[in-house]
């Protein structure tokens, strides 16, 4: 009986080793691919004259849809930055999703809102829209005040009013850089079959912000947001860039993505019964286009930036990661028909299996691994040197991946111009492997358990607002 148990434990160890090997190999490959892709991308940017592009009347008009829920701390500042965006023709629809604070009042005062109705272009089902307002100070600004239905529901309400070929889905608390739309629209110009494009999300904590613009980029002082800066660099510059280069983008962040309105409406809009509506939409768009044999492209563009405020407290961060993991699981399980299905091309054969087996099941495998390794060590069934070496390899490999993300940033956009910040990022790339990574794994495991138990909802989030300078 006991021998049987040890056999099982050794099997688990084997699975964990295999998982570890495949996961880290894919991260390393993604980093290498990203390195090559980013280098080419930067050269390509130099070859294209962005100002010339800006002057073009040929860029398609766009609607920015920003769902807002209890955003009174940041909504006016965020909206001001949106109104100052450099883009030929755009409209903004703020959707107040039944906020319990003074979001609408703040907007009404700041932008002189008056009631106004407009004809709907879509009929996606949503919670009741109580009122529609237009701004008397900005002709391209509209506000929908609706009953609470969640972010996806708010985006659908905005989509129902969208009149432009493209729309940009974003968070109300995010700050877009002035030329972010011009940069992100490029794939739509270069390839008429582009249906979606995502930009990069960066952490605004620690940056100096004035009038909704990031004036100086810096690392936040507290450790928690500082660690997230590194995480985001790794996720976007190494991860998403790599997947994009492989033509297999499966995630576009809900904080900043541009989509073709018609295709999203035809595919049914945002799913309101998942907390991972951003990923679910991308997976569904892949499925929709592949099943109809439509020529399409989903792109990641590394230079248009949306700055976002990251959680500064462990409890909030835990809730965020719990939600992300639930969203991932819900999205993947809903479209499980794609798993290893050649009908869906490289998405079904590579990207989906990666996310399904490594990202979705990862926390379960990792936790099982920790337990079985602990048992193996406790009962002296494996050499301590062997176990220790394995963990040191795991830690060093983790550090290699993080430091390579910092190297990619230095190679490409160099946002952290202070050399002290660069050294701190490198140091964090090593330090995060002692505690923080394990913590995020545990949170993801919590998210997996929550998903299995059928938990819904976003969990409470708090916003402190951006650090601002005086106007002087």
């Amino acid at each position: 009986m006991i021998e049987r148990m040890w056999q099982i434990i050794f099997w688990i160890n084997g699975i964990v080793l295999g998982y570890f090997l495949i996961l880290n190999t894919s991260y390393l490959v993604a980093s290498l691919v990203s390195f090559h892709a980013l280098r080419r991308y930067i050269r390509r940017l130099r070859a294209l004259d962005l100002d010339d592009l800006l002057a073009s009347h040929g860029v398609p008009p766009m609607t920015l849809i920003t769902p807002a829920y209890n955003e009174e701390a940041t909504c006016v500042q965020s909206l001001r930055s949106l109104l100052a965006l450099r883009y030929a023709e755009f409209e903004i629809i703020v959707v107040n999703d039944g906020s319990k604070d003074g979001t609408v009042d703040r907007l009404r005062e700041a932008f002189d809102l008056v009631p106004g109705e407009r004809l709907a272009t879509g009929a996606l089902p949503t919670a009741l829209v109580r009122a529609t307002y237009r701004s008397r100070t900005h002709a391209n600004l509209w506000v929908l005040d609706k009953e609470n239905g969640g972010k996806a529901d708010a985006l659908n309400a905005g989509l129902n009013q969208c009149r432009t070929p493209l729309f940009c889905a974003m968070d109300a608390d995010s700050l877009l850089e002035r030329d972010a739309l011009t940069r992100i629209v490029r794939p739509f110009l270069e390839n008429g079959s582009t249906v979606a494009a995502g930009g990069i999300i960066r952490i605004a904590n620690g940056c100096v912000v004035r009038d909704g613009r990031v004036l100086r980029v810096g690392l936040p002082r507290p450790l928690l947001p500082r660690l997230q800066v590194l995480e985001y660099l790794r996720a976007f510059l190494a991860g998403r860039m790599g997947w994009h280069a492989a033509g297999a983008t499966l995630i576009i962040s809900g904080a900043f993505g541009v989509f073709r309105r018609d295709i999203v409406v035809q595919a049914g809009g945002y799913a309101t019964d998942t907390v991972g509506e951003d990923m679910e939409l991308i997976v569904r768009l892949h499925r929709y286009c592949r099943e109809r044999r439509l020529e399409y492209q989903i792109a990641f563009v590394p230079d248009p930036v949306a700055w976002t405020e990251s959680p500064t407290r462990l409890a909030i961060l835990r809730r965020q990661r719990d939600r992300w993991q639930r969203g991932l699981i819900e999205s993947l399980l809903r479209h499980r028909v794609m798993l290893f299905n050649p009908r869906y091309g490289r998405i079904g054969l590579v990207a989906y299996p990666y996310f399904f087996l490594l990202e979705m099941l990862g926390p379960l495998i990792e936790t099982g691994g920790y337990l079985s390794f602990a048992l193996t060590v406790a009962f002296h069934r494996a050499s301590p040197i062997y176990i220790t070496t394995f963990f040191v390899v795991a830690v060093v490999l983790g550090a290699v991946l993080s430091v390579s993300a910092v190297a990619l940033e230095e190679l490409s956009f160099r946002r952290y111009s202070n050399t002290g910040d660069l050294l701190r990022l490198i140091w964090l790339g090593i330090a995060e492997n002692f505690g923080y990574r394990q913590l995020t794994s545990a949170w993801r495991l919590g998210g997996t358990i929550s998903a299995l138990r059928g938990k819904k909802g976003w969990g409470r989030m708090e916003r402190a607002g951006f650090e601002v300078t005086s106007n002087g």
Binding site: A47, R118, S383, V403
Partner: protein, 355 residues
């Protein structure tokens, strides 16, 4: 101690593999950190060098524009190793200038442009594209033939940079070369290509009309030509648009021709448009109704009210936009008063008329 470790490693091959992996990873991380820091140092040096060069060149270039220094004296200040930097500097400088001042910059760049012409053989697409961009910005008149040749480059990026460079205001002589190769850019968004061509100015209109009318031309190219003519507000394109409208069944071309008529058409062009209000395609109906609303000030109110009840929401929206653009808000008010228009729709119409 070392001998013990070696003994342990030799007795256990798996551990040996792990040890080797660890050593390799440690070497890798040290190399990565070293590379990142070297990259930072190099970037800082490049930046400092740029600043230094710009500080040195700016007064010289300004003096040259003012005629206080000869070209030869200025070029003597630029070492061969700095030539590419200097061209790049001139390019950025030139973008802020017009007229005679810009001509001076182009004259200063001219002796150095052969360096870039040689770069057109570079194996990297991006380098060639950058060279095409710079050559055309600083020496299009002299090197126009080279930029035209770049339209046939193996890289789409290079070809597009060449096409955009050749589609500048006041350079209609290159327009036909670009239009002939438009089919190559089929993947690009048609409105973007149209805008690129329209930028050349009204001199390009005859070539565009020719492309629009030619049934042997690729449909996608004809659509781009039609969109460009609409953007140019070319009054002479109304007749070709009406002709094409009555001969084509391609949806995109129909929509593009309706776009032309909406901008520059007359009531006499309306018969083929009226036939399209019963099209199965919502986008065609929307454009057809909008064209009628825009051109026919005596438009049948019941026809436009019918548009308000179209199953596609785009039809009333486009009609409203057309009426608003034509300043016909009273027509909008009268449409809203129709008995077949619901109260909710009437409110929306009034609000749309005001916004």
């Amino acid at each position: 101690m070392t001998a013990d470790l070696v003994g342990v490693l030799q007795s256990d091959p798996e551990l040996w593999v792990l040890g080797a992996a660890l050593a390799a990873l440690l070497a890798l991380i040290v190399a990565l950190i070293g590379t990142t820091l070297r990259l930072r140092a190099r970037n800082n040096r490049t930046q400092a060098r740029w600043i230094g060069l710009e500080e040195r060149w700016q007064p010289l270039v300004l003096a040259s524009i003012a005629g206080r220094i000869s070209d030869a004296d200025l070029h003597a200040q630029v070492s061969p190793a700095e030539a590419l930097f200097f061209i790049d500097y001139l390019l950025r400088f030139a973008r802020r200038l017009e007229g005679e001042e810009r001509a001076t910059i182009e004259r200063l760049a001219r002796p150095l442009l052969p360096i870039l012409v040689a770069r057109l053989q570079h194996r990297d697409d991006e380098f060639r594209a950058r060279a095409v961009q710079t050559i055309s910005a600083l020496g299009l008149q002299e090197y126009g033939h080279i930029v035209v040749a770049a339209l046939d480059d193996r890289s789409d990026l290079v070809a597009m940079v060449a096409a955009r460079s050749l589609s500048q205001p006041g350079t209609p002589e290159f327009a036909s070369a670009v239009i002939r190769r438009l089919a190559r850019f089929r993947q690009w968004r048609s409105s973007f290509l149209a805008s690129m061509l329209a930028r050349v100015g009204p001199e390009i209109a005859p070539s565009l009309r020719e492309a629009l009318l030619d049934p042997n031309t690729d449909i996608a190219v004809r659509v781009v030509a039609a969109d460009a003519l609409r953007e140019l507000n070319d009054p002479e394109s109304a007749v070709p648009a009406a002709v094409v409208l009555s001969t084509t069944s391609d949806r995109n071309l129909i929509v593009a021709c309706l776009g032309i008529l909406m901008e520059v058409g007359h009531q006499r062009h309306l018969p083929p448009v009226r036939a399209l209000v019963s099209s199965d395609e919502p986008i065609v109906r929307a454009r057809a109704f909008a064209t009628i609303a825009r051109l026919d000030d005596q438009a049948d109110l019941s026809l436009l009210r019918g548009a308000m009840n179209d199953p596609s929401p785009w039809v009333p929206i486009r009609v409203i936009e057309a009426l608003r653009a034509a300043g016909a808000t009273t027509v909008l008010q009268r449409i809203a008063q129709g008995p077949e228009i619901s109260n909710e729709f009437q409110r929306a119409l009034r609000s749309e008329a005001q916004s």
